[in-house]
């Protein structure tokens, strides 16, 4: 590993340094979000998440009431041994011994703080954000007689289960269909094969947004708007072109000899597909499954259009969007909400991770 040549060292440092910087750039915002999700609302609104690390800051050590000092705020004032005008005190004047005298507020209500530049940490953590995201907010309604009625807000369980119910079939159905199609395109002979394949690939560039209204119109006729079936079909349709293309790339590079010997032994296409092609293409299937699952899980627009009319089938992204309130007054909850919604995709990703790289490289080296 360790090369004695300086050139080797240099490239080692360059490559790894660049990688480290990229990893840092990508993870720091996520890390900040993670820390923020444990901070109380007031602190999220007033200070940055990085203040949880030890840092130097002006900290109040003594407070004087401006009124008691009988100062002339229009001219020069002498407070705690330093002299300056009101404006200068508002900015803060440093004393020779390293302290700072600062006027907080205006001339009428002001107070004077003597501050020291000290190491501090801002360690005030809470699970409240997560509690509100998971269990639902408590909405307080004041009654005419002065009592307060507490109504539980929407909790997270329902939309989580809905998201699962949407995402799993929307992942599995396109994979099954695409695997059949990819096998057909790769190993079966029929007229117009090339044309059909080009058609499928061409569909990759069609933005799904233009299909929303026509599909919704058909769904309205079939009376399946707002149902899971509607969104499964939509996601299947939108996911198929990429799935077929990706799986075709992999399946067409499977060793010809293996399949041909199976055919010579009298195997039908179906047998070859189920006994040979499917098991051999698991890396490609798994990597596409991750893609599709993440896309469906994070999808907001498609769910909004096809499930939006039915409150009972609301998915997580919709729940998360509504969590901030009509005017966005609870946006601090998005921090915790983001991590809760990330959990399942992370689990899926890590459990299928070993296929992921292999699948992405599908067909690239096999020739």
């Amino acid at each position: 590993m360790i090369s004695k040549r300086t050139g080797g060292w240099l490239s080692f440092i360059l490559v790894n340094g660049a990688l480290a910087i990229m990893v840092l750039l990508w993870t720091v915002p996520t890390f900040g979000l993670f820390i923020s999700s444990f901070r109380p609302k007031e602190e999220i609104l007033t200070t940055g998440w990085w203040t949880v690390f030890p840092h130097k800051e002006w900290v109040k050590v003594e407070e004087l009431r401006a009124k008691d000092l009988n100062l002339d705020t229009k001219g020069e004032m002498t407070i705690a041994g330093v002299t300056g005008t009101f404006k200068e005190f508002r900015e803060g004047i440093e004393t020779p011994d390293g302290k700072r005298v600062k006027w907080i507020g205006n001339r009428r209500l002001g107070r004077i703080e003597i501050q020291e530049y000290k190491w501090t940490v801002n360690w005030n953590f809470t699970l409240e954000n997560y509690r509100q995201v998971l269990m639902g907010k408590e909405i307080e309604i004041k009654k005419p007689d002065g009592s307060v009625e507490v109504i539980p807000g929407e909790n997270f369980i329902g939309s989580f289960l809905n998201s699962v119910a949407v995402a799993i079939p929307s992942t599995v159905i396109p994979i099954l269909i695409a695997a059949f199609a990819a096998y057909g395109f790769a190993w079966m002979q029929f007229s117009g094969k090339r044309l059909f394949f080009i058609l499928v690939v061409a569909l990759l560039v069609v933005p799904l947004q233009i299909a929303l209204v026509p599909i919704l119109r058909d769904y309205a006729k079939l009376n399946i708007n707002g149902t899971f079936l509607a969104i499964w079909l939509a996601h299947t349709g939108f996911g198929l072109p990429l799935a077929v293309y990706l799986l075709f790339n992999y399946i067409s590079t499977l060793p010809r000899e293996t399949l041909e010997s199976a055919f010579i032994d009298g195997a039908s296409h179906f047998t070859v597909f189920t006994r040979l092609v499917l098991p051999l293409s698991v890396p490609a299937l798994a990597s596409f499954a991750i893609f599709q699952f993440l896309w469906v899980w994070n999808d907001y627009l498609v769910a909004l259009i096809f499930l939006g009319g039915n409150k009972e089938n609301q998915v997580l992204t919709m729940h998360l969007a509504n969590l901030v309130g009509s005017r966005g007054n609870d946006w601090h909850l998005l921090t915790a909400g983001a991590f809760v919604t990330m959990l399942l995709p992370l689990i899926i990703f890590f459990s299928l991770q070993r296929y992921f790289i292999r699948g992405l490289l599908a067909g690239s080296v096999k020739g």
């Binding site: 004041k142 119109r217 079936l229 499964w232 939006g308």
Partner: protein, 481 residues
Amino acid sequence: MRKQYLMIVALLLVAVLALAACGGGTATEAPKPTEAPATQAPAQPTEAPAEPTQAPEPTEAPAMEKTGFEWLDRAYAGEFAGTTVTLLGVMVDEEAKKMEMAVKPFEEATGIDVQYTGTKEFETQINVRVDAGDAPDVVDFPQPGLLSVFASQGKVVDVSTFMNMDKLKANYKQSWLDMATLPGPDGNPIMAGVWHRTAGKSYIWYPKKAFDEAGYQVPTTWDELMALTQQIADDGDTAWCIGIESGAATGWVATDWIENLMLRTTTPENYDKWVAGELPFQSPEVKRAAQLMADIWLNEDYVYGGREGIVSTFIGDAPAPMFQDPPACWFHAQAPWITGFFPEGTEPGVDYDFFVMPPVDEEYGVPILVAGDIMAMFNDRPEVRALMEYFATGAGVEQWVKAGGAISPHNDSSLDWYTNDIDRRVAQSILEAKTVRFDASDLMPAEVGTGAFWKAMTDWISGSIDLDTALKEIDEAWPKE
């Protein structure tokens, strides 16, 4: 290894079959009534894990007195029990709960299930669903401008075709009815909806406790307000907290200011002309309003954070410095919903309070700028008619008013319903005002009202264009006949 792969595939297959099986059940039962009697018989109540919405049963329907609305009376008699009406609006979370509270008495008395869905992407959803012929039965529009688009396309049901108009006229001030009257598909005016809630927008909030302690007096004229603003600047603070950042809607706070000042510096007739596009933005009237606003907004000594602060501060975060100890700013102009952003534990009347934006020119008095939510109907069925008539009565919003946060525009509502002082005083100010006008940008065509007006104001405040250019740009954006 191969066995393992097969296992995974098999498991996935089983999963999809299982889901397809149990999903199939859910799939067939569209959002349909749960206990429809004769009409349709849906399979079973949805077993969605979301909170169970119990089908309201017409149990002990009390002998309702006649409301004068035909369909509502028939609904109260139990005629439409078991049907469902879908309702779409922008209220989510807490406000969604209050919306549900508002329709609850209707559900209990009639046995009609009102399914309210709130969305953060209202415009996207309503446009797509109406286009696709899948419109919700009733839609709560926060802006009549958007509703007028659907009215002119002929998608909205004219409520005057079935509603008792005498009763409706008795229940609203004429100006509300005028604002609900929009051009239909053939150009003839139709009654496109009924007003459900309103909100005043001419209020200035201040940190009462510190304000009193500092010895400041609530100003009663514009001159006093400007004098106090200067006084506060002399005392070392910036008087105003202003923030207009609101994502794609950035700039609407500035339009509210212009509208408020227009009402205070010119006649209501001129204001109406301005809304209709007959008085251009480049006219001296609009320019004067903008200049009065600029006296505060563009003076770095008057606004917390200066003009850069204005354009980059989120509307909800803007009032935060007012609640520092001692306050870093003293005034914030906004509709009463802003109190939802005030820090927890602050008490109205103790920690903060409000006054109506004072008059500029004596002769125009203290006008109130309002906005409101209008209910429009997209599908014509008896139970939908009944719900629309319910919204046309004070009872349709009573529970929300009592829960706080809504003002009723109906004549048959009572000031006693308001449980908190702020709401009651806001309602009173609207009732007492000689001039009440609706938010102009909500009424103007969308190209202007929710487009050029917002954008030009933002550009002007941020300093990238001057006032004349901004006003010219808005005039040019006005749709050509």
